[in-house]
Symmetry: C3
Subunit: 432 residues, 3 copies
Amino acid sequence: MILKKRRVSFEEVPSKLASVVVGCAECHTMNPKKHQDTFEHNGYQVNVVVTPEDCATCHPVEARQYSKNLMYNAVGNLKNNPVYHGLVDSALDVQSFKNMKTILKRPDDQTYADACFYCHGTVVEVKGTETRKTAQGEMSFPILSGWPNQGVGRINPDGSKGSCTACHTRHQFSIEMARKPYTCSECHKGPDVPAYKVYSVSKHGNLQSALAKKWNFNAVPWAVGKDFTGPTCATCHVSLVVSQDGDVVAERTHQMNDRLSWRIFGLIYAHPHPESPDTTMIKNKAGLPLPTELTGEPVAKYLIDAKEQDQRRKTMQKVCLACHSTGWVDGHYARFENTVKTTNAATLTATKILLSAWERGAAKGLAQADSIFNEAIEKKWVEQWLFFANSTRYASAMAGADYGSFANGRWFMSKNIQEMVDWLEFKLKKKE
Amino acid sequence: MILKKRRVSFEEVPSKLASVVVGCAECHTMNPKKHQDTFEHNGYQVNVVVTPEDCATCHPVEARQYSKNLMYNAVGNLKNNPVYHGLVDSALDVQSFKNMKTILKRPDDQTYADACFYCHGTVVEVKGTETRKTAQGEMSFPILSGWPNQGVGRINPDGSKGSCTACHTRHQFSIEMARKPYTCSECHKGPDVPAYKVYSVSKHGNLQSALAKKWNFNAVPWAVGKDFTGPTCATCHVSLVVSQDGDVVAERTHQMNDRLSWRIFGLIYAHPHPESPDTTMIKNKAGLPLPTELTGEPVAKYLIDAKEQDQRRKTMQKVCLACHSTGWVDGHYARFENTVKTTNAATLTATKILLSAWERGAAKGLAQADSIFNEAIEKKWVEQWLFFANSTRYASAMAGADYGSFANGRWFMSKNIQEMVDWLEFKLKKKE
Amino acid sequence: MILKKRRVSFEEVPSKLASVVVGCAECHTMNPKKHQDTFEHNGYQVNVVVTPEDCATCHPVEARQYSKNLMYNAVGNLKNNPVYHGLVDSALDVQSFKNMKTILKRPDDQTYADACFYCHGTVVEVKGTETRKTAQGEMSFPILSGWPNQGVGRINPDGSKGSCTACHTRHQFSIEMARKPYTCSECHKGPDVPAYKVYSVSKHGNLQSALAKKWNFNAVPWAVGKDFTGPTCATCHVSLVVSQDGDVVAERTHQMNDRLSWRIFGLIYAHPHPESPDTTMIKNKAGLPLPTELTGEPVAKYLIDAKEQDQRRKTMQKVCLACHSTGWVDGHYARFENTVKTTNAATLTATKILLSAWERGAAKGLAQADSIFNEAIEKKWVEQWLFFANSTRYASAMAGADYGSFANGRWFMSKNIQEMVDWLEFKLKKKE
């Protein structure tokens, strides 16, 4: 059991840290030669941005696991994938209006950093140096682009990716905070990824809201039924969880998808997780960088296979089974698998309406080499999957009740389809 | 005062339980002959689903009171009322699209269980038996339909209805948890019934969020001003509340509507509560199973009368008066009664537009024997009452500020009416 | 340091209170001659409504500062400004429908009090007297209009304005409660002013949700890094904040805008704060009582100048710098200033579409002397700035991530513009 209590994963104490307590300097003077942002400060070589590569000095296993996440590539996956980048631009653009036409202008860098890349991560580079008056006299500091930022896939000035402080908030690095659901909610609460909202109305979320003040959020390992009596996000997706007897229920992982059989949000259709966290390499039959065809069929070559899906499902179910019976868990999963199917079907219907709008010339799409996200019906189509199908799947995955019904769930999928058809009718009539 | 401290309501200790501590077996072996889900387990007759009838062994008064709730009939009220069931189907259907037409398909059972019936309750029946490998060797277990579920009106395998664990979460059965508002929010937070959302921005909700850590949520009876200084849902609707001197402010009740003069959500118009919790028997003049006419007049025969409304109002006001002055309470109620009227008027306006759409052939409704919930304008009509009028009334009832203005409140009622009229105009033009 | 610990701001103890503990009577018998609502009660002259002028007996500095807030004039600013009042009426009106036309009816007083004026404040006046049976026999009490209410700009029966209990909740007057964000959320959570929602998903909000149970919310002065490790609303906008060494980071202020360079919500465009808290005197070039032209140019004469903006920005930045580096703060502010510009640009685009609709006769606006808020396209225009631009600016100001992207943020600005153009096209077609 002793090893299970460790919060660091190095094999030997790094010699540099053998005889010191970790304070400011230990992290902010780490790997100075790799850090483009290192500057001379009172005789020390200090860097501004502490990176996962710095943290890996003591936490190498976590850093390695984390690099297998989609989040690790959250910048590239958005920036270097033309389809996703098109969605970003269509959300952030500042349109102008002239002669009854709207004109799109590419968003500026500050807007990118303020919106999507706030969570995904910015590119932090040294752009120059500035001198400031300080209490110690004039001093020189690097000027950074994309700063401040703590996005999960941040491109760092030492060439590394990610930001541990996205979840392990500076400078307390409280395990209690990382384990509480509010940390995940920083990025996972909006209509595109309503994980926290759904959790908060689930039985699990209720347990946490009502009883967590008595729980021990600092124990490592984390004993279910003793340290806590209801799961948080971390319990099911990250933490080293043990039974009251100390038997391992789930190993700690920072590859957050290794208990996830389906990728249920972000893309047009739910699909098995991509094999590589770098999704820019994916191409579907139509040549689009998407993990499914526009009509929903998964592009199997780039995705985990059924066996791996099954393995991940079982790893998660071991966590469920720490509190629930087999019958309970089986019933829950059967329902969830069904919801994956039905929500994909509802997305397909919306897609067919959109394809029809493109064919009939009511909107301009792929064949016209136009953005597939800029017109009103296209935006309705996006909401069908990005908001409503997502919400419904989260509700199903976490038993979030009304999020599968009226709160951005099935009701809105159904309504949206009717409104898409009406839009198409009005537009075709107008063309006559 | 001694009796007031009891958390059980039996008159005598049931002989079976006289000399034991209640653990797993006491509840899970209760009434084995009634339980269709009883199975042989290591020499014991165990049942999977503990039901209100089992709980009634020690809590008979609560079970009896609970059976007078609409919630107790939440499955039948939805399933066996053609109008409500039509709304369910129109929300959960997976539509397909062909030749510019949408086709509806009845939702499958998993979808029902995953959505509306997650809160309302499923029908839990034994569908067979399966053998599983366990640490104790091969064992046999019943296979249950509609499982898992803890919906308020669940149909149980012993023939009973309801699920106490909807609010009294297994297996801690924490009175603290049941009294905190997060429990109610599991089912009462969506746009159709935004009780928790409204509460959370009310002065009462603020008191709870800011100060509850110092409150005693376990005291029975619950002394206002001593154990707590602001109400939760339970305070006003359920709990045995006493003054600091021990005088009863409100008796404990599990008939949650016995302090409610109006039924303000779920149906087209706010109306006096139905007399019977089984609403399937109600018929309005038009022959529809609705507690009001389509134009809002209450179907008095099936509803509580003004005297009973007054009685219920007074019971609730006694709770208000534990903290507030008569002038305060009177002013609050006058405003709420006015809001019931004005929101009903706004619903009537939306209904008139819909009736006009049906008459002019822009949409298909009752006269055409078509669903009244499947077209875009019908869905807008539904949102007028199910989302916006509801939110406004909750805001009025609980002083929830912006929920009566911009947050799904009056602003949206007003906007919705304009959009309904525009839709009708566009559609009529199209028909020309 | 001793003075910094004071929670009162009088220079000398008022003689009346020199030898008493403050209980009920001290406040409820204050200034009886000024109080229209004073009534004889068991031989005492008691008033119902305690007002800021009463509170000023011990807290004169706070009352004086508060009178410089827009909130102090929240009733007049809404009631006596024809444009704003038009928005109120268009949100609260109960429309009727006849012959394919909607007819607006002015909202009644109860509706005003239940909606916008619940937060803004009502006019509380004595309307008469009523006799009630009490435990002490028959007693006489004043009947008050607009009661109950605790809105920030309430017009009181002693002629004063405001309500301290809006934030300092009766009768605990807990500083802990006032400092927690739930207090602000009572009025600042809706889509028109989503401050709390944005805060709750920010890093700051996460710190508060996860760690506040260990913070000392009662310390005066409030030491950053010692009493708390993340800011609440009060920290940045109101409280006396000191460093761990006791150095003043920010002086206590009840003029909440004195750290705010921009007014980012409520009006069509973000603009420098008005000089006077009474905005009814403002007139733009077009003669409208608005702080900007309809096309966005600020009406400089009535607004604080760049120097004052800079001063306020610096006062706020001193708070930021208590935890963050200069580079961090500069980067954050650059992004925020950019967002003020881009959101104003998005509002201008929506305004141009609306102006086009008015010009082409698709809707009736200023030139036709019609309400600019009553038609569907006008309501979409309102949402562009009142909901979506606001959300985006709050997200930028507080690093609220998805509220600048998908959660009522830029996505909705972009979609709204497309839908406004479509509406205009459909309407013009219809007119042909």
